[in-house]
Every structure is written in structure tokens, then in C-alpha cells.
């Protein structure tokens, strides 16, 4: 309660004598003060860089993700050596049964994870943004129809539908010739994730647009003769970006985890490609013999998702200090 008074006092006492900063500077300043956010950002950049430069890094370590190494597995196809065959030449050990390099598998796997997560996030954002702005701004029949459709979508058991429908849909995509194999599977997975995922952002944007359009500055623009297009682009969008950025930062980790989960359930990417989910679902069968093979990818996946979540929180706190406080 004291804080309310405090805010009132501050707002009204702002004067030109205080050195003021732009919204960006304020957000950046707030972000910089958040040590956790900085570390998480660093970690995220690290993981992203590892993923992007997977070919270079693996080459530097002299490994790759497709070679079946010889002489590294015993007669039961288990890695020779402690901790799942961790050695200088195979820093995270070897894949039991096949003999590929786990380090390379995870690096390349993270590429697919990030790919799916980024495409899903941006597609959801784009669709949610377009529809959210359109319905929030123009209201009317379309708005209520789409709103009801979104409610309707939310009532479906998304996870189950993805599992039930992905195989036939992949076949259909392949039959049409749109994409093949893993590309087709990723496409279908992404379409599903977006299909069930856009509504959240759409609602957010719609409600924000609705409240923004009631703000006087929109009316001021109308009074100046601005077209709807100009109002959307020049007046609304700049105010919606922070929401979008926050949403992106918070949904990326969600999509990474989702991709892993669906791979684990057998939906999405399949061998010989790798993802975290595939490696983990494989590793479960070896946990007694080769716990390192299970725990290392687990730890890395958790670290990535955690870093992205922490970064997302920090970005949200920086851009939108009232939310979540």
C-alpha cells in the first residue's frame, strides 16, 4: 500500500530537472541490474552459439553426428569405458547400441530443438499478432467468431490430438510432396504446436489492443485523419512489441520442452536425426547400465530451458515491471 502512494508521488513529481531516459534505456538498465538475467542471457547465447556452430564445434572436437564409431562399443554394443565412454575424443560419451558421439548428437539435436521452438514461437506470434490486432481493433462479428473459435480450440486435448494425428498427417504431407521425412515431421509438429498455441498470444494481444484502442492517443490519431492501417502500425504496434518480446522469451523454453516431450512420445523428428527427446527416450532403457547417457542430456536440456526461462523472466521484469510482481 505504501508503494501506491509512492508511485503517485513519483509520477507527479517528475520534472524536467531529472535526467530522463528512453523506455529502451530504462528497460536495459533494469535488465542490467538483474544479475540472474545477465547470467541466463549469457547461458542462452552460449547454448544458441553452440547450436548454430554445431558443425564447427564438432569438427574442432573431431567428431560428427552421423559416424558410427568403430571399436568404441563392446560385444553388447555398450560404450567401453566409464561414464558411458566419456573420453577426450568423445567428451559426452557414446550412444549405446550404435556408437555415435553423444556430444555431436546433442549439438545437432539442439539445432532441431531450437528450429522447432523458433518456428513455432514466431508463427504463433505472427498469427496471434495479426488476428489479435485485427479482432481487437475492428471488433464486431469476426472478433466474436474468432474468439469463440479460440475457446473451441482450447477445449481440445492438444497433446493427444498431436499424437493421434501426426502420423497420418505426415503421410499426407509426404504424399502431397510438401516435405519428406524429418522435414515433413517437423512441419506437422510445428503446424500442430502453432495450431494449438497461437490462441494464448492472440488473447493477450487482443485484450491489449482493445484497451489500447480506447486510449486517447488512438483517438488523437483518428482526429488527425490517420487511417486504420496507420493507427495499427504506428500507434498500436509500438505499444505491443514489449508484449511480443516478453511472450517470445517465455514461450521459447516452453516449445523446446514441448519438442522434447513430443520426440519422447514418438512424434516429430526421428533417427538418424537426434533431438533431446529422442536421446532421452533412448537413454531411459539404459539407465542402469549407463546412467550418464540419461543424466547428461537431462541436465543439458534442463539447463537450456532454465536459462531461457530465467532470461524470459528477466526480460519481462525489464519491459513490463508490473507483470508478475
Amino acid at each position: 500500500m505504501a508503494a501506491v502512494v509512492l508511485n503517485d508521488e513519483l509520477n507527479s513529481t517528475e520534472s524536467q530537472e531529472i535526467v530522463q531516459r528512453t523506455p529502451k534505456e530504462i528497460a536495459w538498465g533494469r535488465f542490467k541490474r538483474n544479475k540472474v538475467g545477465i547470467y541466463a542471457g549469457g547461458a542462452t547465447i552460449f547454448f544458441l552459439a553452440c547450436s548454430i556452430f554445431a558443425p564447427l564445434i564438432t569438427r574442432a572436437f573431431g567428431v560428427d553426428n552421423h559416424t558410427v564409431y568403430e571399436g568404441v562399443l563392446n560385444e553388447f554394443a555398450m560404450p567401453i569405458g566409464p561414464l558411458g565412454g566419456i573420453s577426450w575424443s568423445h567428451p559426452l560419451g557414446l550412444e549405446p547400441g550404435v556408437g555415435r558421439d553423444v556430444f555431436a548428437l546433442l549439438l545437432y539435436g539442439s539445432q532441431l530443438s531450437f528450429l522447432v521452438a523458433f518456428i513455432s514461437t514466431f508463427a504463433s506470434i505472427t498469427i496471434g499478432m495479426l488476428i489479435g490486432i485485427a479482432t481487437g481493433y475492428f471488433k464486431g462479428k469476426i472478433d466474436s467468431t474468432i474468439g469463440r473459435f479460440a475457446d473451441f480450440l482450447l477445449s481440445f486435448p492438444g497433446t493427444f490430438m498431436i499424437i493421434a494425428l501426426s502420423l497420418p498427417l505426415v503421410q499426407r504431407v509426404e504424399a502431397i510432396g510438401l516435405a519428406h521425412e524429418n522435414a515433413a515431421r517437423i512441419l506437422v509438429l510445428v503446424i500442430f504446436l502453432v495450431f494449438f498455441g497461437w490462441t494464448g498470444f492472440y488473447r493477450l494481444i487482443r485484450s491489449q489492443t482493445m484497451s489500447l484502442r480506447e486510449r486517447d492517443f488512438v483517438m488523437a490519431a483518428q482526429a488527425m485523419g490517420a487511417s486504420s492501417w496507420r493507427i495499427i502500425v504506428k500507434e498500436l504496434l509500438p505499444n505491443l512489441w514489449p508484449t511480443a518480446i516478453v511472450f517470445i522469451s517465455l514461450s521459447l523454453p516452453g516449445y523446446i520442452a514441448a519438442e522434447a516431450t513430443f520426440s519422447f512420445l514418438g512424434v516429430g523428428v526421428q533417427a538418424p536425426a537426434s533431438t533431446f527427446g529422442l536421446v532421452l527416450s533412448d537413454a531411459v532403457g539404459y539407465w542402469r547400465d549407463d546412467p550418464a547417457y540419461l543424466l547428461i542430456p537431462c541436465a543439458i536440456l534442463i539447463a537450456i530451458v532454465l536459462a531461457l526461462n530465467l532470461l524470459g523472466d528477466a526480460i519481462r521484469d525489464a519491459l513490463d515491471p508490473k507483470a508478475g510482481r
Partner: protein
């Protein structure tokens, strides 16, 4: 209020109809042929045709849907001659893979999922809300930071990881569950202890995931509400802090959680696919996944999908009604 209820009920009914129709439509246009899939070894075109007839897939999808709806109200007959049998209303169809009326299968699986959902719900709600309150009251102190850490770990751990880790490295490793009975349905009325032991780890796994959201939500709502003018009014009246929190802050701060909790709970009722899978729980999630992956058992797939959607739609309705009950503004306005 009655008028509002009637309107909401009819809208809900409409949505349920639309949901069931679209589920039917979606699965009908897929290039999957359950008749061929259940054909067996002596498979030939006439057998597939016979199968298609037996499964009721030899008629247009709208007729199939009509039969489905009719079956819900008056029951349905399957098979012919000596092999005929009847599924009483509400009949969701017949699973030729499980040799049971789908309604029976659902009736068997539902208590499991319900137990899972209720226990997890209670656990996550109590943990999430109390942590959220604690974090809000001790804002920026160590309790708040600990809660934040919990939230982040909770949101970052996909259930399939937390579930497996808890199963393998806790439950199994330390013999905390009776392995041969693992996941077996025991009625809490018959053997509450065994029931509790069956479900405690799945509850923890789900609660870990959901509690995080609730901690976060509660924390921000409590902080926001405690800045409301009416809290200041309560304080100005001379109310003590405990009563302010209990009677004034929480009432308003927790009301929106009803919506969230209701929908999450309803979502879980449709089956927790991963958790049920990991812990062998014979609930709706496993029923539906098995129907897809093992048998492509269309009647079961349709029924569980529709049911899951119905749970959400109905929960939406109940949540709104409950909300109206709690928030007089909504109540009187409607």
C-alpha cells in the same frame, strides 16, 4: 441468474456438439483405415469390407455421427446373430480391440484419472498457493527467492523428465513403491493407504509442474491485490494483518485462480498422457494413447477425445458459475 444459466447451458451444449462433430470429421478424413488395421492375419478385401461393416465405417461420416449420438441416448447394438451384444446408454461405441463397450472402458479408467487429477490438484493448489502467498508476503526476501527458484525449476522440468527421474532414481531405487502393484487401481474406499502409495509420486510429478504456475500467479495477484484501495480501507478500519490477508486480500487475489485451476483440472481429467504412461496408471490418458499407438481403436479415440473436450467445456461453464457465485459483480450483472 436463471436466464443466464439457461443461456450458458445451451451455449455449452452447442460447443459440445461442435466439438464432437469436428472430432468425428477430423478422424474421418484421415488416411487411416481402422478396418484394415484390425483385419488380422487372414486379411483380404472381403474381410476388410466385413470389418468395415462391423466397425460401422461403411456408412458416410454423418451417419456414423448420427449413430454415435443416438447411441449416447438410447444405447447401441453391435455384431450380428449369436455374436450380437448391446452397449447400454450412454454408449460411446464398442472397442473391438478391448472387446468392451467404450463406456465401460472409460468408466474403468476414469476413477484412476480422477484420483490422479484430484490428488495432484490438491497438492499443487496447496503448495502453489501457499508458496505464492509466502513469496508475496516476504517479497524480495529469501522466502520469495526460494519460491521463485521452485517456480523456475518447476516450469523448466518437462514432466517426462521429472517423471522418469522420480520413478527411476527415487521410487524404484529406494523401493518406495510395490513394483508388481505399481499403477494398479485400488479404490481409496477399500484401501486408502495403497491408493495413496499408488498415486503419491504421480501427484508429485504433476504438482511440480503445475504448482509453479500457481505460485507465480498467486504471488503476483496477492501483491497486486494488497495494493488495492480496499485493503488500505481494511487496514484503516483497524483490522489486523492476518484478517486482512485472510478475508480481504486472499478472497480477491485467489478468485481468478478458480478459472485457471478449473481449466487445468479439467485438462487433466482428459488424461495425463505422460504421467500415466510413466507410472503405469490405467487412466484415460493411457487408454487413449494405447488406442492410438497400439490398436488405432477409433471408437475409443473418438470417445476419449470428445470426453476430454467436454471436460474442458463443462469446466468452463462451472468455473463461470462459481466465479459468479464468488464475485457479486459478475453475479448481479448477469
Amino acid at each position: 441468474m436463471l436466464k443466464y444459466l439457461a443461456r450458458r447451458l445451451s451455449a455449452t451444449f452447442l460447443v459440445i456438439t461442435l466439438v464432437s462433430m469436428s472430432v468425428f470429421g477430423i478422424f474421418a478424413v484421415l488416411p487411416m483405415d481402422p478396418a484394415a488395421l484390425t483385419c488380422g492375419k487372414a486379411c483380404s478385401a472381403p474381410v476388410i469390407e466385413a470389418n468395415r461393416h462391423r466397425l460401422g465405417l461403411d456408412v458416410p461420416v454423418q451417419v456414423q455421427y448420427g449413430r454415435f449420438v443416438k447411441g449416447l441416448f438410447v444405447g447401441r447394438d453391435f455384431g450380428e446373430g449369436a455374436a450380437a451384444f448391446h452397449c447400454p446408454a450412454p454408449a460411446f461405441g464398442y472397442s473391438f480391440n478391448r472387446h468392451e463397450c467404450v463406456t465401460t472402458l472409460i468408466a474403468e479408467a476414469f476413477p484412476v484419472t480422477l484420483s490422479l487429477a484430484i490428488g495432484a490438484f490438491v497438492l499443487w493448489l496447496s503448495v502453489g498457493v501457499s508458496l505464492g502467498i509466502l513469496a508475496a508476503r516476504r517479497k524480495n526476501q529469501w522466502q520469495d527467492r526460494a519460491a521463485t527458484a521452485f517456480v523456475l525449476v518447476g516450469t523448466s522440468l518437462p514432466t517426462f523428465i521429472s517423471g522418469i527421474l522420480i520413478l527411476l532414481f527415487v521410487a524404484l531405487k529406494f523401493n518406495l513403491i510395490n513394483p508388481i502393484e505399481m499403477g494398479r487401481w485400488v479404490s481409496p474406499l477399500e484401501d486408502p493407504v495403497a491408493w495413496f502409495r499408488t498415486f503419491i509420486f504421480p501427484w508429485i510429478v504433476l504438482a511440480l509442474l503445475y504448482a509453479a504456475t500457481y505460485t507465480r500467479f498467486t504471488r503476483s495477484n496477492v501483491i497486486e491485490t494488497s495494493m488495492e484501495d480496499y485493503i488500505r480501507t481494511a487496514r484503516a478500519k483497524g483490522l489486523n494483518e492476518r484478517d486482512i490477508l485472510r478475508k480481504h486480500t486472499l478472497r480477491a487475489a485467489l478468485a481468478p485462480i478458480i478459472t485457471l485451476a478449473g481449466l487445468d483440472f479439467a485438462g487433466l481429467l482428459g488424461g495425463a498422457i505422460i504421467t500415466e504412461g510413466i507410472f503405469n496408471l490405467p487412466g484415460l490418458g493411457r487408454l487413449s494413447i494405447r488406442a492410438v499407438l497400439r490398436d488405432y481403436d477409433l471408437p475409443t479415440i473418438l470417445a476419449t477425445t470428445i470426453l476430454a473436450a467436454v471436460f474442458v467445456v463443462v469446466a468452463n461453464l462451472l468455473v463461470d458459475i462459481l466465479y459468479a457465485y464468488i464475485d457479486p459483480r459478475v453475479r448481479v450483472a448477469s
